[in-house]
Amino acid sequence: MDEHQEVQNEAALKELSHKVARAQESRKEAEPQVQANSKGMALGMRMASEFVSAILVGGLFGFGFDYWLKSTPFGMLAGLGLGFAAGVMNLIRASKEYSASVPVGSDLPPENKVE
């Protein structure tokens, strides 16, 4: 009886170690993918701050250049323009990340869902 149990235990242990090995293998293979699922308001706040902060930093850089090169106000003008472009780019990046995480059509009503 005892021997029988031991054999059984060994088999169970072996199976478990196989399972662990397989799980570790699959983890190694899995590609990291950006997943970003945030609720609507958080998403809105993120977009807004993403856009505004780029303009602020761009303006600040421009102001710094002006201070350094005594070229008021052209540095700041250029900085604000570049900051605006950077803000738009931030927005595009953030929304790309978001759309990558939300499959196409997952927000549609059930009757016309895209499969």
Partner: protein, 251 residues
């Protein structure tokens, strides 16, 4: 209790101290910052004390918190990122979440409503990205300013934009958390103040006070959501930024 909605953000020294001309008083902010460090530590210690195969309820919560952070970090940075950054990301998440949760209670101070706190955390992440980025990629880290697949004359335009975009990260990272918490707490306080003011104006006022009271409850529920959501968003963006540090080459 004053009716001023900004009163809750005042920092009052409890044990006045000074070091080399700097005010380092132990204030109400210090208490809640210490609490923000102590609560996650106590939570994790308590939930992992038994480490039973069949988890107790507390252990289950602790394990899900760990799994949640681990899953988010693994999803955006992969195995290497988990190895390097799990302590940092887990600390940030648990600290922000517990500090926000504690701040929801009346008379409590919320450290994340001070931009210096959120800015310091965002700058820690920012400098971690820069240091790890240079350590891992060397000069190839500059590639994040030179996206591939662009005709070379455009670099004169694209590179400044990328640089501004990179430096705008700590700003947007810190302002988001700070503004959410600050605005939410002010709103709740303003509506709660209406209740007190109206109910002081006789029977009609008390009936009218029902409306702002309902609003306060609704906003409070929203704030509870925001407290945890913002902790999550802060962590998620930290993961995304850290991913850039590890994989700057394939931008």
């Amino acid at each position: 209790m004053s009716n001023d909605p900004m009163h809750q953000f005042h920092i009052e020294p409890i044990i006045p101290m000074e070091l080399g001309g700097f005010d380092i008083s132990f204030s109400n902010a210090s208490i809640f910052l210490l609490l923000g460090a102590a609560l996650p530590a106590a939570f994790l210690l308590a939930s992992s004390a038994k480490a039973a195969l069949v988890p107790s309820r507390l252990q289950l919560i602790g394990e899900s918190a760990y799994n949640f952070v681990h899953g988010t970090l693994y999803g955006s940075t992969g195995q290497l990122g988990v190895k390097m950054f799990l302590p940092l990301v887990m600390t940030l998440f648990l600290f922000i979440a517990s500090v926000n949760a504690v701040g929801l209670f009346a008379y409590d101070f919320t450290p994340t409503s001070q931009i210096i706190i959120t800015a310091s955390m965002a700058l820690i992440v920012f400098f971690t990205v820069i240091i790890v980025g240079f350590a891992k990629n060397g000069l190839k880290f500059f590639k994040i300013f030179f996206p591939s697949g662009v005709p070379w004359p455009l670099y004169f335009l694209v590179t400044p934009i990328e640089i501004i975009s990179f430096f705008s990260r700590p700003l947007s990272h810190s302002v988001r958390l700070w503004a959410n918490i600050l605005a939410g707490h002010i709103l709740v306080k303003v509506f709660a103040g209406f209740v007190v003011m109206l109910s002081g104006a006789g029977l009609v006022g008390i009936i009218g006070a029902v409306l702002p009271f309902v609003m306060t409850i609704a906003l409070y529920a929203l704030e509870t959501l925001v407290a945890f959501l913002q902790a999550f968003v802060f962590m998620l963006l930290t993961c995304i930024y850290l991913n850039d540090a590890l994989h700057a080459g394939d931008h």
